[in-house]
């Protein structure tokens, strides 16, 4: 404190490495991981079919993580997305099996439900003033309750139309639909955040809500919109998961919450200094998927998956805050 002027240049020198590490470390890690897995399992890992397999496994997590990214950019957390996705998977199969609705009707209804959950989250956070962690933990738990009330806890499997199952399992030019849908959703989200006036407002609200308000931006609306995007993306993941499983299962998508958070935070430490962005989340999701794929190829026991997932979440948030600390120095 006393030698502020003398210490400044020195600090810059020492902070260059951590800053670089925080910005490009994840990409370096991704390359190292691909290289190591390729060397260790040359027959199984570096093949086109395994590549597509990895993307297919990553697709659902990336869609829900993309939505979460928007909520996180506006400066809020959404813990309800995993539970909501599970509920929406059950709901979409239920609407088809129990109510006989065709997929073309059931799917839009469920997407609207996703938007509605986001709207409710947003209203509670902005108009009532509840912290988003608590608010979405609450709504998420309520959604679990709704899920059990709707399904009585039993999977809805029998009578799911083939046309619905084909959405997730089908392929176009050899590429799984899920992957194509993920690419389209990610591209749309990128355009929304980076190339629209709403996206600029979203970034401004997350960067400094007061400055955004004083620039005439309607902060509450933008925040609500962020929650709604997260809600719709959760619904897409829930629907595609139900389609892939061929059934609506009460807690099928719960674990996507953790994966989504890990991807979002890993992504914030990618290419930018601790700033959340869609492309970063894409990288984060891929790293996690490749890690899981490697664990599976080497036949690691199941408990390693949990260790890996927990460790990567901590690593991701750690890198993210490291990046932010060295930003704007």
């Amino acid at each position: 404190m006393t030698t502020a002027s003398g210490a400044a240049p020195e600090q810059e020198k020492t902070s260059a490495l951590p800053s670089l590490l925080a910005k490009y470390g994840t990409i370096v890690g991704l390359v190292i991981m691909i290289g190591a897995f390729s060397a260790m399992a040359p027959a199984a890992f570096p093949t086109l079919s395994n590549g597509i397999n990895v993307l297919n496994q990553a697709a659902l997590a990336l869609i829900i993580a993309g939505g979460l990214t928007v909520a996180v950019i506006v400066g809020e957390l959404d813990l309800s997305i995993g539970f909501a996705a599970s509920f929406e998977g059950v709901l979409v199969t239920g609407l088809m099996v129990n109510d006989g609705l065709p997929p073309a009707v059931a799917i839009p209804i469920v997407l609207l439900v996703g938007a509605l959950i986001g709207l409710i989250n947003g209203l509670i956070v902005t108009k009532v003033g509840v912290n988003s962690v608590i608010a979405t933990l609450g709504t998420g738990t309520i959604v679990v309750g709704l899920n059990f009330a709707y399904s009585s806890g039993a999977p809805i499997a029998a009578g799911v139309p083939d046309s619905f199952v084909n959405i997730a399992l089908g392929r176009l030019w050899g590429i799984p639909h899920n992957v194509l849908i993920m690419i389209v959703v990610t591209a749309l989200l990128w355009v929304l955040v980076e190339r629209t006036s709403i996206g600029q407002s979203i970034q401004a609200v997350g960067g400094n809500p007061l400055a955004a308000r004083f620039s005439g931006i309607r902060v509450d609306r933008i925040k609500i919109m962020g929650f709604m995007v997260a809600g719709v993306c959760a619904a897409i993941t829930g629907i595609l998961l139900a389609s892939a499983l061929g059934s609506g299962t009460t807690s099928a998508a719960d674990s996507y919450l953790l994966t989504a958070f890990a991807a979002v935070f890993l992504g914030s430490a990618t290419l930018r200094d601790g700033e959340f962005h869609i492309i970063g989340t894409l990288f984060g999701g891929l790293i996690i998927a490749i890690g899981f794929n490697g664990l599976a190829i080497f036949g690691a026991p199941t408990f390693y998956q949990y260790v890996f997932q927990g460790a990567i979440l901590i690593l991701a948030v750690g890198l993210s805050s490291l990046g932010r600390r060295y930003a704007n120095r």
Binding site: M1, T2, V191, R195, T196, S197, I198, G199, Q200, S201, Q203, A204, G207, N208, L210, A211, A212, R213, F214, S215, G216, I217, R218, D273, E275, A327, N328
Partner: protein, 527 residues
């Protein structure tokens, strides 16, 4: 208990001039970044005296107090207590030396009782390691009675009035055996009766050998109460006045100074009073709480209107109402002849009102984002590729930012530079630039040149005058008395939530502004 450390307090009545120095400060210097807050000031404070500290905003009073409190460390200079040089690195050390500080915000823990607040951080009487609150209360009660506490010490601080909070804070200082209590604007939110009570206690403290450093903008209190007065101006010692020659005129002169600033003479020549008949904004009987009590004025088209007065006189609060940042509790506004009731800043912006806020880093800018990003925030819809398509043209955004930067002479590597990396003056230009890309009727600037170097300040003034000639109506708030004279066509001086004085053209001088700012409203004068 509180004054036991003080030795000879024989002549403890009127002027303890014979007593030696308690705290002596010599040649104290402190700079923040490029701003030199203290350029070598002295203070000589004797045991048991009431010592006034006066100066305009930014004169260096707060910096001195922070250094004494151990919150900031000085660049150079010496502080001695009882003739021994000391270094005060932490608030703990200040307490150990017998210095106590009572700030305007009081810093009481709202949910704790008065007694708990008084004893915060003080070793308490205990039995077997447990605090014996009954004994603690017995020890504290006489001191509490002495400072005039009539309420129960069990009352939670949240339930106390501001005046009662002051008594608790004074009691806390005495329990810590303080020999000097620094009081920062003690009467700012007290009623006349509460003020009288406080003055009585301050005199009583002095009589018992406790020195008081009394910081106030209210000159009548200073002249009525203090044995000695130290005045700062622009980080320098302006005057040391003793009781015999203490009067209002002397204080005003010390605060304002007699030298005329040359730098603003040039700007003043440009000032023309347009006196356009067209009224852009009309404000009638605006009210909100105790900050804005009854404000009415008209703002003409193309006029630069200054809002003068002291910090806390209600200027920022008034413009926040005009900008829709706070809800008004009474009054009407019309903007270009139409009723104007902004509920949010968004409404105000849509109607053509812009605000350059006082805290530019926390309220005006997204620091991590680029210059181009920040400059485009108020004109996002205008940057669409084609109106029905919601896509933005980043090329147009960058081009607009480029042009704006050239127009405002913003110094930066390029428009992609994060705005947090720019200097204060350039950051301020970005905040102003945000508003220039949309059609504006009224632009409000709250302390536009605070923390900005002289060159950038002149450029900001040039931009303001230029906008006015283009027909934009401007409101400028400034606490620096030399800023408004060169810049404004008309100045309204606010005192305690009301407009007290209107100055026009050549009548806008530093002296007139200071005089008007210190115009007290009859009440709250020490007896």
């Amino acid at each position: 208990m509180g004054n036991s450390a003080i030795q000879p307090v024989g002549a403890e009545t009127a002027t303890p001039a014979t007593v030696s120095s308690l705290v002596r400060v010599t040649g104290l210097r402190k700079h923040y970044g490029g701003v030199r807050a203290l350029k070598g000031v002295d203070l000589d404070l004797r045991a048991g005296e009431i010592h006034g500290l006066v100066g305009a905003n930014g004169a260096g009073k707060s910096t001195l107090i922070k250094i004494l409190a151990g919150l900031e460390s000085p660049d150079a200079g010496e502080i001695s207590v009882d003739g021994t040089p000391v270094s005060i690195a932490t608030p703990d050390q200040a307490t150990a030396l017998g210095l106590s500080f009572i700030h305007q915000e009081l810093n009481l823990v709202p949910r704790m009782s008065a007694l708990q607040n008084i004893m915060l951080g003080v070793p308490k009487a205990s039995t077997l390691g447990l605090v014996d609150w009954r004994r603690v209360r017995q020890l504290v009660q006489p001191i509490a009675t002495r400072v005039g506490i009539r309420f129960s010490l069990e009352t939670p601080a949240a339930a106390l009035s501001v005046a009662e909070g002051w008594l608790v804070s004074i009691c806390r200082a005495l329990v810590r055996r303080s020999r000097l209590i620094v009081m920062d604007e003690p009467t700012a939110s007290l009623s006349a009766h509460e003020c009288d009570n406080l003055f009585r206690i301050v005199r009583d403290l002095s009589g018992n050998g406790v020195a008081v450093l009394y910081v106030s903008h209210r000159l009548d209190e200073i002249t009525g109460l203090c044995h000695h007065v130290t005045a700062f101006r622009d980080g320098l010692l302006a005057a040391q006045i003793d009781r015999a020659s203490l009067n209002r005129a002397r204080l005003v002169e010390a605060i304002v100074g007699t030298d005329k600033p040359e730098t603003f003479a040039l700007a003043a020549a440009n000032v023309i009073a347009p006196e356009s008949d067209e009224i852009a904004l009309s404000v009638r009987n605006l009210r909100r709480g105790s900050a804005v009590r009854d404000v009415s004025f008209d703002l003409h088209k193309g006029e630069v209107l200054g809002l003068g007065g002291l910090v806390g006189s209600g200027r920022s609060e008034t413009v926040r109402l005009i900008f829709g940042a706070d809800a008004m509790q009474g009054g009407q506004m019309t903007l270009c002849g139409r009723a104007f009731t902004p509920r949010t800043p968004h409404d105000a912006v849509e109607a053509g009102v812009g605000l350059v806020p006082e805290e530019r880093r926390s309220e005006g800018l997204v620091l991590a984002k680029s210059v181009a990003f920040n400059l485009s925030l108020t004109s996002l819809l205008g940057l669409h590729v084609a109106p029905p398509l919601p896509l933005m043209s980043m090329r147009r955004r960058d081009k607009q930012a480029q042009e704006m930067s050239q127009r405002l002479l913003i110094k930066m590597p390029n428009v992609a530079t994060p705005v947090g990396r720019l200097s204060g003056g350039n950051q301020q230009k970005v905040v102003i630039g945000k508003w220039l890309s949309r059609s504006l009727r009224v632009l409000i600037l709250d302390e536009p040149s605070r923390g900005v170097d002289i060159g950038a300040r002149q450029e900001i003034h040039r931009i303001i005058r230029e906008l006015a000639t283009q027909g934009v109506s401007i409101i400028v708030i400034s606490s620096e008395t030399e800023e408004l004279p060169g810049l404004c066509d008309r100045v309204l001086v606010m005192v305690e939530g009301r407009i007290a004085t209107e100055l026009r053209g050549a009548a806008i001088t530093r002296e007139a502004l200071v005089q008007a700012s210190y115009l007290s409203t009859e009440e709250s004068q020490p007896s």
